[in-house]
């Protein structure tokens, strides 16, 4: 559902709201789903795509011209462009990580990239949970201020 919604909304907040609305709509409409008429996945995709269009219409917007409205189309992980973009993003992340001190690099890798729990990261790096949270936030803000990293990351997630 997230990848479907991402075709319509590029910004994280809009995407999250749209995904939430679609799941709630699906919950409400589930009684209308008839398994004899088709599988649930196409039904969900159609429901999601229609809700996204409605949300865009409510904002006076239309789907971007390059939006792939083929509901069956799912981005292949082996798509060469996507592979290249991910490689560029990984290289930018590695460059960013190399510029950090040992403690920060540990928190960055474990907390921001691997998304382990604060307690686990704190134990692994040998710091308090409080400091771990502080460093995580500091690194996120530092990443936001790194124009080159942002450019590379935007390629894989949109602007």
């Amino acid at each position: 559902m997230r990848s479907l919604v991402a075709r319509f909304f590029s910004r994280p907040f809009e995407r999250e709201e749209a995904v939430q609305e679609i799941w709630l709509l699906a919950h409400r409409m589930v009684a209308a789903y008839d398994p004899e008429r088709g599988q649930i996945l196409p039904w969900l995709r159609a429901l999601g795509a229609n809700r996204c269009k409605e949300l865009l219409r409510a904002q006076g917007r239309r789907p971007a011209p390059d939006v792939n409205l083929d509901l069956e189309a799912v981005a292949e992980p082996s798509d060469p462009e996507q592979v290249a973009q991910t490689a560029r993003a990984r290289a930018a992340v590695a460059r960013f990580e190399r510029a950090l001190g040992a403690e920060e690099a540990g928190v960055f890798r474990l907390s921001l990239v691997e998304e382990r729990a604060h307690e686990e990261v704190a134990r692994a790096v040998g710091i308090t949970v409080r400091r771990c949270k502080y460093l995580r936030m500091k690194l996120l803000l530092r990443a936001a201020a790194d124009a080159e990293l942002r450019r590379a990351l935007a390629e894989v997630t949109g602007p």
Binding site: E17, A58, A89, V113, R150, T157
Partner: protein
């Protein structure tokens, strides 16, 4: 300015460290504040991108938050049975009501500052707390129980359901329970203030349902069309306005309305007024007469009561 106040909450939300109620309040604010939303998007986008580089489709914190929000928004099985027509409780607010947090913060900081300045300048005979204008937003914020200055969110959601005339099991006297028995024939057309608007036709019956009422209130629902004609839907003609107890579930507001009768095609500005005491209908009409019909959307009525607004576009 707003970003400065909310940046801590935004950063905690992205990190997944914000509580669910606080996040719901933050998200209601984000709907109305472009600057805060941009800050949120920037940080959430980067956190998401880090996850994508390791092959995930979203951050673990984001997925957990998504699940928590969804579970919080879903009605319990008891509510589904009791509520009849069930619908979503969205944390969104896209109308002027959504901008109330900004007002709340402004009041919280500017009023004490102004009072302190007054006290310093005219100390012997000063009145550091000038009475607020009765129609100012601060009064309604206090009524909604926001003593801490935090955003309490919309006072309730107004859900608008529609059913096409002639569809089976739907009549002009259909109730939410009837409609729930025939879900394919009833559709949710608006969830105000979240959706902001909805589309219906003159061939529809509409039914109003209040959801998530935060405080005991007398509820009035009116519509104002493009010609300025005021339609009072709740209470129905000849009935007294009744109060409703706060409830997280759905409250059906009277019988359905036939849009083919007495309604024009075009925009219908819809208002649900939730007042602590019964409102004088004449006062509502005066406030309705003051709104600018050329303005897009549904500008707030000049009444010092919590209100939820949106636009229903009535097609032929």
């Amino acid at each position: 300015m707003s970003v400065w106040f909310h940046r801590g909450a935004i950063r905690r939300a992205v990190a997944g460290d914000l509580s669910e109620p606080a996040e719901r309040r933050l998200r209601a604010h984000l709907h109305g504040c472009q600057a805060c939303r941009a800050h949120y998007d920037e940080l959430a986008g980067i956190a998401e991108a880090f996850a994508v580089t390791r092959g995930a489709t979203g951050t673990a914190a984001g997925v957990a938050r998504e699940r928590a929000r969804l579970l919080a928004a879903l009605p319990s099985p008891e509510e589904q049975i009791a509520g009849g027509l069930d619908a979503t409780r969205l944390p969104a607010s896209r109308t002027a009501r959504a901008r109330r947090p900004t007002l709340t913060w402004a009041v919280a900081f500017l009023v004490p500052a102004a009072a302190a300045a007054l006290w310093l300048v005219v100390r012997p005979a000063s009145h550091p707390n000038p009475p607020a204008h009765p129609d100012s937003g601060a009064g309604s914020v206090a009524w909604r129980g926001s003593s801490s200055g935090e955003d309490p969110g919309p006072p309730a959601s107004l859900l608008v359901f529609a059913s096409r005339k002639g569809s089976s099991k739907s009549t002009s006297k259909s109730t939410p329970a009837d409609a729930a028995a025939a879900p394919p024939h009833v559709r949710l057309v608006a969830d105000l203030p979240a959706s902001g608007e909805g589309r219906v036709s003159r061939g529809d019956f509409v039914q109003f349902v209040l959801r998530g009422l935060q405080a005991k209130a007398f509820v009035t629902v009116i519509g104002i069309d493009d010609e300025g004609e005021v339609h009072t839907y709740v209470p129905p003609a000849g009935s007294e306005v009744v109060s409703h107890e706060p409830s997280p579930s759905s409250i059906s507001l009277g019988s359905s309305v036939d849009l083919g009768s007495g309604h024009r095609t075009g925009r219908l500005r819809l208002y649900a007024l939730m007042s602590p005491s019964a409102l004088d209908p004449a006062r509502i009409r005066v406030a309705a007469g003051r709104i600018d019909l050329k303005q897009t959307g549904a500008p707030p009525l000049d009444l010092p009561v919590p209100q939820v607004a949106g636009v229903l576009t009535i097609g032929p």
